[in-house]
Symmetry: C2
Subunit: 338 residues, 2 copies
DNA sequence: CTGAAAGCGCTAACAG
DNA sequence: CTGTTAGCGCTTTCAG
């Protein structure tokens, strides 16, 4: 197969200048209807494929928005990215996605790799990064949005919430149900910043209530799976036989905990109440359904996209730098008798 | 903030030619150790960020591998993409991901968008596409890998399996357990090619056994959620009160079906056996655990990456065009009494 | 509405 | 090991 045709090849075939072909490929550019049609038909017949790499260099616009998430295999982040992609694609922007593996070093490398591609904006999950990563973000000269967190020192824009406060709401609900001997499952790993914040919220809420806040079960490195949740629940039951409630770092571990209870013949919620986090599908479908914290993953994606579009559109007034997407408590059977 | 520095700015600051700076940024290029170190330090101090867009144009290499999946929110495809990304990143290649929304028209647009970015290879999920999409893939002049399917007319390379055969194995297992009144859940939508194939496998296996193969429950457009699975199960129970087994298009719908049985007080597997598909985490953790078809999502990603790397490396001998990743039946409590 | 000239920032190719 | 020259394929800019 021969070298793939370029714009000048199409131009020669049609009998116009390359510039006219270039215009024919833009929505708004002024080209006569007949000429445009002829160009597009000819281009298609020749198998011409527009070369973005050249366009990007000359126009200094790539149409990329870089996005980092801890892991691709997480329904919450997937929802955020899905909403983000959908919104941005309307504006002709494409998501360039990368995974940090819940790891600062990987994140730093990733951010550098992504910035080399000259994205027009960058969205990072989380509010704490290595020093160099923070510097790179600050100096990138493009809009930066931190999501899924509420950083003390934001780099630029933020669309997030306080993971600690969200967990406090769940703990207070468990206390309202009369539970007093609470255990927390997960969030011990330093690399899982949001998990650690949820754990801190658990501790803080119990201390406020004057209750024992030291019952914490470790699950190791994130992501915390259903299976790890089940193992941790078995450990919790062995360590704290008098426990009457457990708050889990996510719905996945909560479901693992629930299934472990079922295997051991422990009744949920009568004997032990289980609280989840994240409003994954599983929490609505399990029997009993699991009470959880709805974090509005899609909404975060939508707002982040809008923040980007507003920042990129110099015509529009600046949007607020910080947008809080307040999580909601969803009460279900796992914490409340029928 | 001033215009971001370019290579020639770094070169001027260090007192070398831009070419030497360029070489300093390549792993293997020959530059004296002292010079390279000085260049890298100076570049960092200046906040220089290498510009891939220029490099891509000049060297005619982008380092991108385009990948299409139906939906980002699917643990199976996420596993495949995760394995793919990990393998390719070792070779300095970055995944450029796009979603087809289980839709041929969207896929066609997406493939065109991706090809404009000049990826060095493209991996598409599924083996059937619009005519124009197929043409674009064939003419792209880069390695193409179709995954998760076994197309009758492959475009180029394939890493997949027969969804119909995989479902047949599940149906035969149900028959071996003495079940005779089987229902299939899902796979009716034309856009879900793999679901439709599984359904075809169900029908074929039952016909081979001389049994009624007409008990099919529709679930509408993919992806089929847990909730849709539960609704469909309720419909199945109402329509076919004498059913003794149900084969589901995925573990998610199987879990929805299981939870619906639990809500209705129907015992699984004693009264009804439930078969899933995909070996999602949920199938191992539910009570009872769900028998499923393990499709080796990660392995598919790894082999696809290797196929790409082999195709890109002209030194290496050509890998086989078609690689079958045979699914395995996993038998658990949902189809077999303890 | 269309065209000509120049150049985006980097690197292939060649020279030393 | 280092430098020079030219140009990747498109689009900005300026003319007409």
């Amino acid at each position: 197969m021969a070298r793939s045709p370029k714009m000048s090849d199409v131009a020669a075939a049609v009998g116009v200048s390359p510039m006219t072909v270039s215009r024919a490929f833009k929505r708004d550019a002024s080209v006569s209807l007949a000429t445009r049609e002829k160009i597009l038909t000819t281009a298609r017949d020749m198998g011409y494929v527009f070369d973005s790499t050249a366009s990007n260099l000359r126009s200094q616009k790539t149409g990329f928005v870089a996005v980092t998430i801890p892991s691709i295999n997480n329904a919450n982040f997937a929802d955020t990215v899905g909403a983000l992609s959908a919104q941005l694609s309307h504006a002709g922007l494409q998501v360039l996605l990368g995974y940090t593996n819940y790891n600062w070093a990987d994140e730093e490398t990733l951010i550098e790799q992504l910035l080399r591609r000259r994205p027009e904006a960058i969205i990072v999950t989380g509010g704490s990064h290595s020093e160099r990563a923070t510097t790179m973000l600050k100096n990138a000269g493009i809009p930066v949005v931190q999501i899924w967190d509420e950083p003390a020192n934001p780099v630029d824009r933020v669309v997030g919430f306080s993971n600690a406060d969200a967990m406090k709401v769940m703990v207070r609900h468990l206390l309202d149900q009369g539970r007093r001997k609470l255990v927390f499952l997960g969030g011990d790993d330093l690399s899982d910043v949001r998990g650690a914040e949820r754990r801190a919220g658990f501790i803080s809420a119990l201390q406020d209530a004057g209750l024992d806040a030291t019952r914490l079960i470790n699950t190791g490195t994130p992501p915390v799976s259903m299976h790890q949740g089940a193992l941790a629940m078995a450990q919790a039951l062995a360590t704290y036989p008098d426990m009457d409630a457990i708050a889990c770092v996510s719905d996945l571990s909560a479901f693992g905990a629930l299934s472990e209870c079922q295997r051991q013949g422990i009744c949920v919620p009568d004997h032990i109440a289980i609280g989840g986090f994240g409003a994954y599908d599983i929490s609505a479908q399990s029997v009993p359904a699991i009470s959880t914290v709805q974090v509005h993953s899609k909404k975060i994606g939508e707002l982040a996209a809008q923040a980007i579009l507003a920042a990129l559109d110099t015509e529009k007034p600046a949007a607020p730098k910080m947008q809080r997407v307040q999580p909601d408590l969803i009460i279900r059977g796992s914490t409340q008798s029928a």
